[in-house]
């Protein structure tokens, strides 16, 4: 055997293992499909969580209810200075837009919204301060919001500041919780996939005991004996990933309309997105990798126990 023939021989051995393992799966197709479906469902669940979280974040990102700060000006500020102060606030980093509410406008709004009685009419002058409503850029970290608030407070003529912080903090907490839950589900179901494959491969190895013994007898290396089982694990994982991708696409199509209706009730044009090509390929790849891990564990544990008779 020449050295240049080695890679060819190696490729041939792999091709043989890949094809013969596919043949084994085909011979017991019903069991193979059921195993692949179980893996598919186990993969689809965490994938659905990921897609849901991605959609939630993108829906909230485009939402008009982005974080806001109400900047109250000193009551003694001249009306002529209002636009100038509003402009200085707008110029700050992290401010997306501002709206000025003069004391008069505030009074009018108040009268319109409170309706019935008007206690302010009893007062000689308008006690309401001018307010600059500042819309913050989306996606600011809590620390960045803190620094922005400090800078707003430091501006001349600014009396007080109120941030929609609670709302932001809650949202951030919900998203964090969702991401943690997703990671946990992914971990547990990934483990499930490995265990399912470990057990399937264990039985598969047991069913091929005689073949393994005879192969050892006539000089088959461990690698040669191991290979078809590893490929079996990979095929199961890839098929499971493919099934998971299909299930996910169906699920997204199923909930898209009601989700869009819900979003439109909040005045958003959001429409849920699926896993996409990259996401689906990642899912299939993850399936293949988990399949290989499960098979590797089973093979390492059970193959060495079978010696040549």
């Amino acid at each position: 055997m020449s050295i240049s023939a080695l890679p060819k021989r190696w490729a041939k051995l792999h091709a043989h293992a890949a094809i013969s393992s596919l043949g084994r799966l085909r011979r017991q197709w019903l069991g193979s499909i059921m195993t692949a479906a179980a893996i598919g469902i186990a993969l689809a669940l965490p994938a659905a969580f990921v897609v849901a979280m991605d959609n939630l974040e993108s829906a909230l990102d485009g939402w008009q209810g982005a974080p806001r700060a109400s900047v109250f000006l000193d009551t003694g500020t001249e009306a002529a200075q209002y636009p100038d102060i509003a402009e200085r606030i707008r110029a700050l980093d992290g401010i997306r837009g501002v709206r000025l509410i003069t004391p008069d406008q505030a009074l009018t709004e108040y009268r319109q919204s409170s309706g019935v009685s008007d206690p302010l009419a009893l007062l000689d002058s308008n006690p309401l301060p001018a307010v600059v409503l500042a819309e913050l850029s989306g996606g600011l970290a809590p620390g960045a919001v803190d620094r922005l608030a400090d800078r707003l407070r430091a501006l001349p003529a600014v009396d007080d500041l109120r941030l929609d912080r609670d709302w932001m903090a809650r949202l951030a907490a919900i998203i964090e919780l969702g991401n943690r839950a997703t990671a946990l589900v992914a971990l547990l179901l990934g483990l499930t996939v490995i265990l399912v494959l470990f057990n399937t491969l264990r039985l598969d190895i047991e069913n091929h005991r005689r073949e393994i013994e005879i192969t050892r007898l006539i000089g088959g290396t461990n690698a040669f004996i191991r290979r078809p089982f590893l490929y079996t694990g990979v095929w199961y994982g890839l098929a499971g990933g493919l099934i998971a991708g299909g299930l996910l696409a169906i699920a997204v199509a199923f909930v898209a309309d009601p989700a869009q209706r819900l979003a439109s009730l909040y005045g958003s044009g959001f429409r849920p997105a699926g896993a996409g090509l990259t996401g689906t390929l990642t899912l299939i790849g993850a399936g293949g990798l988990l399949g290989l891990s499960g098979a590797w564990l089973a093979v390492g544990r059970h193959l060495s126990a079978i010696e040549a008779p």
Binding site: E213, I214, T215, R216, L217, I218, F224, P309
Partner: protein, 216 residues
């Protein structure tokens, strides 16, 4: 080619088939191992491809001490030794062709090469026409011949046969033995364990008689 020096084999149960055996088989020789059932004939053969390890003593194959052979090299030792078994050890869910092809598949040989060699091997044992059949459809003698085809398909320098004529009638037994003689004539070192004394005597090759775990 094959040298056993002071070889003893003792199983955990206390059974001790070999007790200080010295055997030397020259390159290209054909040797019969004879002896009563349980005299250690099979154990002796199984030591050569390291299917068993001796409890003491030394086994050398082609000058290499098997005790010093690393585990991962054992498959390559076995590839250079063709072996047939009394119970044939065939795969019942594979055709004759696939059974005989297995040693070549293990080596990762090209398809055309495999087909050519398997057909030649099956032709040699007279079973080419049945290459698509399954082992269960064959008689004991035919299954033995499939085992022989599998043992010689890689053209190994050493051929071991454990009771190749076990349950066969005299005519078939002679046919099988003549097959081994043919391989031996092209230079294959051949060791055959058998208790068919009249047939062995008729063939007239060197005999090693085992008795109480020693060469008598």
């Amino acid at each position: 080619m094959i040298r056993l020096e002071g070889v003893g084999k003792r199983y955990p149960g206390g059974n001790e088939p070999l007790r200080g055996l010295d055997v030397h088989v020259e390159r290209g020789e054909l040797v019969f191992i004879t002896g009563a059932s349980g005299a250690g004939k099979s154990t002796l053969l199984r030591l050569i491809p390291r299917l068993e390890r001796p409890s003491r003593g030394q086994v050398l194959v082609d000058g290499a001490d098997l005790a010093r052979l690393p585990r991962r090299r054992i498959p390559y030792l076995r590839r250079r030794i063709g072996m047939t078994f009394q119970d044939h050890r065939l795969l019942h869910d594979r055709t004759l062709f696939d059974n005989v092809a297995l040693p070549l598949v293990i080596e990762g040989r090209p398809h055309t090469d495999i087909r050519r060699r398997v057909q030649a091997a099956l032709d040699k044992v007279g079973l080419l026409a049945q290459s698509r059949a399954y082992p269960v459809t064959l008689s004991g003698g035919e299954q033995q011949r499939v085992g022989i085809a599998r043992a010689i398909v890689t053209r190994p320098p050493i051929l071991l046969a454990d009771e190749p004529t076990g349950n066969l009638d005299p005519a078939l037994s002679l046919e099988i033995m003549q097959l081994f003689e043919q391989f031996n004539q092209v230079g294959v070192t051949t060791v055959i364990a058998s208790h068919d004394q009249p047939l062995i005597d008729a063939l007239g090759h060197r005999q090693i008689h085992l008795s109480e775990g020693r060469a008598a």
